[in-house]
Symmetry: D2
Subunit: 337 residues, 4 copies
Amino acid sequence: MANSIGKNVILTLFGESHGSAVGVVLDGMSPGIAVSEDFIAGQLSKRRPQGATETARVESDNFQIVSGVFNGYTTGAPICIIIPNENVKSSDYDKNFGIVRPSHADYTAHVKYCGFEDYRGGGHFSGRITAGIVAAGAIAIKALENKGIKINTDILRSGDATTDADITDRILNAKNEQDSVGGVVQTVITGVEAGVGEPWFDSLEGVIANAVFSIGGVKGIEFGAGFKFADMKGSQANDAFCINDGKIQTKTNNNGGINGGISNGMPIVFNTAVKPTPSISQPQQSVDFIKGEETTLEIKGRHDPAIIRRICIVISSLVAVVLCDMLACKAGAEALK
Amino acid sequence: MANSIGKNVILTLFGESHGSAVGVVLDGMSPGIAVSEDFIAGQLSKRRPQGATETARVESDNFQIVSGVFNGYTTGAPICIIIPNENVKSSDYDKNFGIVRPSHADYTAHVKYCGFEDYRGGGHFSGRITAGIVAAGAIAIKALENKGIKINTDILRSGDATTDADITDRILNAKNEQDSVGGVVQTVITGVEAGVGEPWFDSLEGVIANAVFSIGGVKGIEFGAGFKFADMKGSQANDAFCINDGKIQTKTNNNGGINGGISNGMPIVFNTAVKPTPSISQPQQSVDFIKGEETTLEIKGRHDPAIIRRICIVISSLVAVVLCDMLACKAGAEALK
Amino acid sequence: MANSIGKNVILTLFGESHGSAVGVVLDGMSPGIAVSEDFIAGQLSKRRPQGATETARVESDNFQIVSGVFNGYTTGAPICIIIPNENVKSSDYDKNFGIVRPSHADYTAHVKYCGFEDYRGGGHFSGRITAGIVAAGAIAIKALENKGIKINTDILRSGDATTDADITDRILNAKNEQDSVGGVVQTVITGVEAGVGEPWFDSLEGVIANAVFSIGGVKGIEFGAGFKFADMKGSQANDAFCINDGKIQTKTNNNGGINGGISNGMPIVFNTAVKPTPSISQPQQSVDFIKGEETTLEIKGRHDPAIIRRICIVISSLVAVVLCDMLACKAGAEALK
Amino acid sequence: MANSIGKNVILTLFGESHGSAVGVVLDGMSPGIAVSEDFIAGQLSKRRPQGATETARVESDNFQIVSGVFNGYTTGAPICIIIPNENVKSSDYDKNFGIVRPSHADYTAHVKYCGFEDYRGGGHFSGRITAGIVAAGAIAIKALENKGIKINTDILRSGDATTDADITDRILNAKNEQDSVGGVVQTVITGVEAGVGEPWFDSLEGVIANAVFSIGGVKGIEFGAGFKFADMKGSQANDAFCINDGKIQTKTNNNGGINGGISNGMPIVFNTAVKPTPSISQPQQSVDFIKGEETTLEIKGRHDPAIIRRICIVISSLVAVVLCDMLACKAGAEALK
């Protein structure tokens, strides 16, 4: 539902890039989950820009837990976390008002919100809002760890970019050319037992995809062999069942741990395609919707030449929340047995 | 919500492959939309298996509109459509009960539903259920056409399969080898004005992805350039704005018509990755969960060597329903202006 | 959501009074609940008009379970039940089309649905639709009985109507005067453990009230002492806690088993105010919205002089479904402990 | 959904009585609604305790609009408002921990949240949380005023309490006796056109009832003649239609402006029963759930001898939000015409 996701565990986002704060409400978490402010701070630090490959806008992310945590544990009531915005330079945006940034949400937000949108720094569409996802996700990640579930997202290395240094080089080269780069990141979730997920419209693939596409810059997702299935035959693609240590497993994992939208006990694996950051310093052709004419845009501001590093913790955090919801849905579906 | 999708326009699926009927409830459609039973029948015929490339189980799909249509128009009340199952051979399944078909939902359904699932022919996970999607989608497609919106899904031709005959050859070759094939299908939606879609968790990409992943066999989706973005730079990827005939458009459409989750007025374009049909006649290694031992499975039954033809109308139909919902959400978001 | 209610256990209604059938989809029931067609039939018979105090339109209610039940047990997939309409006399309605029946939904439905509504016999607003509630409720009632929960609704006897014969007299007197009567019915639910219900907008009172107000003719609801609280002092109203057989209970039950929206382990008690059936045979002043003029309406058709007997099973059935949902929500809220 | 209400316009509450702040997220309001901080402050002042008839805990309610408002107008993005808690005396509660206050949520919250609840001052169940409702409601009330809709809630005067002074006397008498009183408040909504509300589970009565029952102390609601219908005949109860100034109206308004769950254009009228404040200074019998024994409780703290004055603005505010949602649902339902 627009700024909220989930049925039993519900995350709601609010805030704008250049407003006083961004934040999140996480509702439906069970009572009694230990909450560590240090862990949340550590997770937020993974989202923060670090070094030359990312934007110079750095926030301290001095979050405040407003509600829902008492004596170090979740109470079961909604958890609100506020993260003040500090390092804001709105003047960069005001002077370009009316000139829409290509491949950003400026134009679509302007049409949708009839000119009342907070346009500064992308407003409510800014990547800044994902800080709330990471803060809430930290609590979800801890809850999942208690259940033996771990989530990790990392840049998928392929072709001529097989080391971390290769990736840094690629990003810095683009930055030097006043350009940006995209990439693919891979998420692996281990420890999910078989039977999580719902048929049809709450399929694990569907709810994860819906979540991940909310993150700015994501333009594709594939589970297991994904688009490679297109060139495979059934005899190659099918994951044969076997018994290992008394447990039913599959010999291969082309389905990425999901059959019929429901986990089969194998690791859940998916890849996310991330487009190059739209904010580049090169002059770009655009339109000034106030003057109603074509124009050339030069974006100043402070921007990431790539978000494929910062997006990893955002994906893991959001998927953790979604997975908590799916576990709660599973419990709900079994309540009347 | 599991078997329901949508907020203002809500589709609910029910039925099993070998039960008495499958069906759908479509709620929230505006009153006054003309409903043609002939058009629905025509849409259902596109989903039906046709010829040697598809399964020999053919249904007449003699649907009945139970409610919500009066004097040829939608009333605004929920529309229930029932499609009886006719050509059912359950005996094919009974003798293999306990032996799970690789890459199908048999095992995960068995775990989730604790052994109470209707296992015959995939039960509630069967592609048969998509008949309800097509029937409801026919009404949604007509409603969209009234608004100038058209949806088409077709097999994406690439590599050495550039003609329809190439694709038929590829499928028949697999069939002859007792095998199956996957593929990629492309959906193009024209006529959607700018401003449709909601921020974050009701992004156009997210809601379409959630819908499409509900369809059995779908393992990936990408919008616009999708996974190709990974190898692009921002200067190549960004869609420059221009003015054509007084309208703001983009020169390229790498973003597939969507920025920030909201339509920008360009055609909406996405690709769906479909895995090879898991049901193949070759012997496969599997597990018998009753005996608790590994075994070899030979699937008899009647199956599609590929679903990439039949899935096209299902995707278009489901996306039509989802798009009706997004138009309703847009109207709701503007109600208080 | 209009024709659907519930979060984890979801009931969806469809059908019109003079269409081919009415029906229901009940989704989210756990797998493994025994389903008895005889029990459903028995419940439906309690809703059917019986004898001189009720309408002469009698349906056989030959329902069909279309999906979701296999080998006598729920499968966990959505349960669709269809109940054909048989004894339909649409001609009674056609000749009065345009003349709205006072205190019925004719006028509001006409405005809301822009003239496309199925106006025959109240269409989708007819009490006939509650047959679906009773059919689905029968399954919910059995599921609750397995948990030790029982629901009963009966006419609240007061003043000079303290026996069943008194009530029959009152109804028949009204019938003889071509009139109708209202009344109050009381629902008592036993066996609900403490801790069921959610804070704020899923309070037990709120969800039950929302459900019960969906039933045509309901105009008031009160829990425990309800409107009598207005004349009480806190020292009289408060339910003192005590310990009985090692269990925490309250000495009185003015709160009707609910504190802060959550069950406290005492019986849940609420009263529902039902207005007199609007369909009376006396001439009434009304309006013909086609001619745009005032007119006198004489309702022929077949109608109940009172629905306070028939509504009891409808309330119990609907509350059973809602309570199943609340139990599922409770399980969901505890899933991550 | 527990702490959220609404489908297109969604209000989410968070906070505890003795935490750092309470607050609200209001999502789905159209862009372009003028927001006056002075008006919000004025509405909050109506909720604040005033004078001898109410609690001595007085908050300044220095709210902060965190998001969703830009240059004095709603942007269409979620509006978060934070209201810090200032005048908190937690020590009053700590010493009684374990002893549940009769007719409060202490016991049910303890069971539901397994001992992890923030028990201080009622925690998340405190009336303090309604400050967020009033703040969000102020924006909704202004949006409705732009549409010609006005909402007013006032104490229903009856019997020997027909003046404001009578009511003050009644409350002060109870206070002097270390006791409290309940009452009935009446809400009247004017300016709602015919056709607002949805069939069955989004009936106007149902959604309003669900909202109003969320407020602590509410135990009954009736629309129009409500429980008086029980003693009426149809010929008395039915609201005859007539034409006034070319508009279809009813001569009486026993149905409180609602037929079939949908507004008929007449004023919407409902009464809410409010129980006496459970917190009284007299010794009460209770239970200490830590010691597992009966005990006598003496509540110190600062409490309202009646909430029937303060609750009026809370009901009006919450109903305003709900009505905004129903208008948005109506627009959604008509989107495809």
